[in-house]
């Protein structure tokens, strides 16, 4: 019996899957190989793909029942909540990775889990398209590695509020001390992965300078159970630094939120900066201690010390973990990338995102370090798994080989090929990690999960109903209209 899905749906999904596979190949082969002597990184990545395969379809269905993917993208762009390109982008990649491993193990066929594949791909494409609507692309690779997320009024606001610095002054020195401290903490708290950082831009600013907007997320007590107590003194869960640089061209700001600059990024080229916090309960970006250079410098100095202290405590905790705990921690950080969707829908449950599905735990005996490195290498680097090979005539976009990362859906399901709809409901899960017991740090204070979910369901940003005026095309045609500014809650208007 043919599927009820349309030809158009499958064409779209297959095209999106190919685009994402090519992007992931470029990212994975040009950024770097992740490794760690502390964490079994590749093994947990492989496990996370499988967890995504088994859990995302049901978890995303629950989100869609409460909110649309486009609204999530709009909220992320407008309010600065910690949903960004990479956190959305990898939802599709990780799910597809799990599917590919299952295909290659002969436990799935390309015509299986049709509804699940279409749901996950469609959800991710819609969030990304909405989030990136200002640059009119789905992912930065479409835009020749530019990721200009924000509208003119938002970036003008960042520029207008930025505080000037010169190398050697207190604020410059404080920022130079703050960045490595928060970066180290982020890599450690996220088990060696870069999911706590995201850069977007560049945006042109006065004097021929460029602005890069740098997000650091999940810093305080939050979903990550191991931050209970250790991060109790971190007062902001998310921080955004708007950094204006001279003599620097950010020629690549990629799908992973990482960047390359020419000449190389150098703190001495920072001419101005601002610091903000935001989350799903904030009315856009809230300036943090930006009353004066001294106030911001004092805060950054204090935060750097807090992050250094927390890094030491966290390291001692993690260094005592078993391999299974390390595997599960990294696996859950990775497969937990989609949890912000549940947060914004107000339906977040800790066990949904911080337990390894029992369907995945059965694979643990295979997830040794060597297999982890090999399967991830074959899957996203070499494109060398048997299921990834197309005909000998095929030429892949970047490497000229016959491998493509993600297997498409066969069009034969539109006729009479056998197919299955879904992998089914989520199984029970578990983990050897200590459970979350603490509160959640938000811009509205520390909250219980019940309270966080309640407020998330009820919250609507002040400018939410005006969000479609936060649009450069509208503003260009209506230069005197204030609604674009009201939409982002901006108190400062460029030139005002």
């Amino acid at each position: 019996m043919p599927t009820d899905h349309t030809y158009r749906e499958i064409l779209t999904a297959n095209q999106f899957g190919r685009k994402m596979g090519e992007s992931f190949y470029w990212g994975c082969t040009t950024r770097t190989v992740q490794e760690s002597k502390l964490f079994p990184v590749s093994a947990y990545i492989a496990g996370s793909y499988l967890n995504a395969f088994y859990r995302y379809p049901e978890l995303l269905r629950r989100v869609i029942e409460r909110t649309s993917p486009e609204e999530i993208g709009d909220r992320a762009r407008q309010a600065g909540i910690p949903i960004n390109t990479i956190l959305t982008y990898v939802v599709q990649q990780f799910y597809a990775g799990g599917r590919q491993i299952m295909l290659d193990m002969g436990m799935l066929r390309p015509s299986d889990v049709l509804d699940d594949v279409l749901l996950v791909y469609d959800f991710v494409e819609r969030v990304l398209t909405s989030f990136h609507r200002n640059h009119g692309h789905v992912i930065p690779q479409d835009a020749n590695m530019k990721n200009a997320v924000h509208s003119a009024q938002q970036t003008e606001r960042f520029e207008a509020e930025a505080i000037g610095v010169t190398p050697g002054d207190r604020l410059h020195a404080a920022f130079s001390k703050f960045m490595p401290a928060v970066s180290t903490y982020g890599f450690l708290s996220h088990c060696e992965c870069r999911l706590s950082f995201f850069n977007h831009g560049p945006y042109k600013t006065e004097g021929g300078h460029q602005m890069l907007v740098r997000d650091a997320i999940n810093l305080a007590e939050n979903d990550l159970p191991w931050l209970d107590g250790i991060a109790a003194e971190i007062p902001y869960n998310n921080l955004t630094a708007a950094v204006i640089m001279k003599d620097t061209d950010f020629n690549i700001v990629d799908d992973f939120g990482s960047f390359e600059a020419s000449p190389s990024y150098d703190n001495d080229n920072i001419v101005a900066l601002g610091l903000y916090t935001s989350d799903l309960l904030s009315d856009g970006y809230i300036p943090v201690h930006m009353d004066s250079p001294e106030a911001l410098a004092e805060l950054l100095e204090d935060l750097a010390e807090r992050f250094q202290r927390a890094t030491g405590e966290l390291w001692q905790l993690m260094a005592g973990w078993t391999r299974t705990q390390m595997l599960e921690a990294g696996l859950l950080v990775y497969s937990g990338v989609g949890r912000e969707f549940a947060h914004i829908a107000g339906i977040y449950e800790q066990d949904d995102w911080w337990q390894v599905d029992d369907q995945v735990r059965r694979f643990y005996p295979l997830l040794n370090d060597e297999y982890g490195n090999a399967i991830v290498g074959e899957l996203v680097g070499y494109l060398s798994l048997s299921t990834q090979q197309l005909s000998p005539h095929h030429v892949e976009r970047f490497n000229g080989g016959r491998g493509e990362m993600w297997t498409p859906i066969p069009y034969s399901v539109l006729v009479d090929d056998d197919w299955t709809a879904t992998v089914g409901d989520m199984s029970t899960g578990g983990s050897d990690l200590p459970p979350k017991t603490g509160l959640w740090q938000t811009t509205q204070g520390k909250l219980t999960l019940e309270e966080l979910n309640r407020r998330a369901r009820e919250f609507k940003p002040t400018g939410w109903d005006l969000r479609h005026y936060d649009d450069d095309t509208f503003r260009k045609a209506h230069p005197d209209d204030r609604r674009p500014f009201e939409a982002i809650g901006a108190m400062v208007e460029s030139g005002a």
Binding site: E35, M105, G106, L188, G312, E378, P392, W419
Partner: protein, 238 residues
């Protein structure tokens, strides 16, 4: 035509890595046997959880590979520590005994890709950092002065709490874009990535060419080799 449960592929390929080939081939075979024994159509057996491969099945697949004499390569320290019978022991530091010397007669004990240039080369004491115990010791007692940390981990987590205290870093892995490269740059700690060392002795005095231009990540093989910074062993008279 009856139901066929096997793995079908018009354009197959053997996996690049033996461990993947071994595991996936075994899983395919076991899944086919299990579905065939049930006999229902594929669409009915594929998601039937009572037919799925179990943890015991995967344990047997792993055991079968280990029974051939294969031992896994460890990445994380904890993997070898917990199951030394399954992993190869970590390799020691290479010493060919045939190191070249520079114009001043100093042994060249390694080269690497410079993450960023500093005004002058850096001299210090090469100290290996390859265990959790050493990091813990230095976290408690402080990193000894003049330490040029020689690290075999391009990640940012093993040395996270003490990274900013190093005088410089030599990393025997990764690339200038690795997490350790990113962090050392943020800390302004000179760093060589992707270093190859030969005869570099723990606690020896070295000079490292951190003043060389930053390595170009897009350089071809010839240019990449030419841009390598050297690690020179210092003698008493140096």
């Amino acid at each position: 035509m009856g139901e066929s449960y096997g793995y079908h592929d018009a354009w197959p390929k053997v996996a690049e890595f033996p461990v993947v080939e071994a595991f996936h081939t075994a899983a395919r075979k076991l899944a086919e046997e299990r579905y065939a024994a049930d006999g229902r159509p594929w669409s009915e057996v594929v998601h039937d959880r009572s037919l799925q491969l179990t943890r015991a099945d995967f344990e047997k697949i792993e055991a079968d590979l280990l029974a051939t004499g294969h031992r896994f390569e460890a990445s994380a320290l904890v993997s070898f520590k917990e199951e030394p019978e399954k992993y190869n022991a970590p390799a020691g530091i290479a010493d060919s005994g045939e190191q070249a010397t520079d114009a001043q007669g100093r042994r060249i004990v390694g080269t690497g890709d410079n993450v960023f240039a500093v005004p002058a080369d850096v001299e210090g004491i090469a100290r290996y950092v390859s265990t959790v115990d050493r990091v813990m010791e230095w976290l408690v007692d402080g990193v000894p002065d003049d330490t040029i940390a020689v690290i075999d981990d391009s990640g940012g987590t093993l040395t996270a709490p003490i990274l900013g205290q190093f005088k410089a870093v030599v990393c025997m892995g990764g690339t200038v874009r690795s997490h350790l490269g990113i962090l050392t740059r943020e800390y302004n700690v000179p760093c060589l990535m992707n270093a190859t060392v030969d005869g570099l002795v723990d606690e020896s005095r070295v000079s490292v060419e951190y003043s060389k231009p930053a390595a170009d990540a897009y350089a071809d093989a010839t240019a990449a080799e030419a841009q390598r910074a050297r690690i020179l062993e210092l003698r008493e008279e140096d």
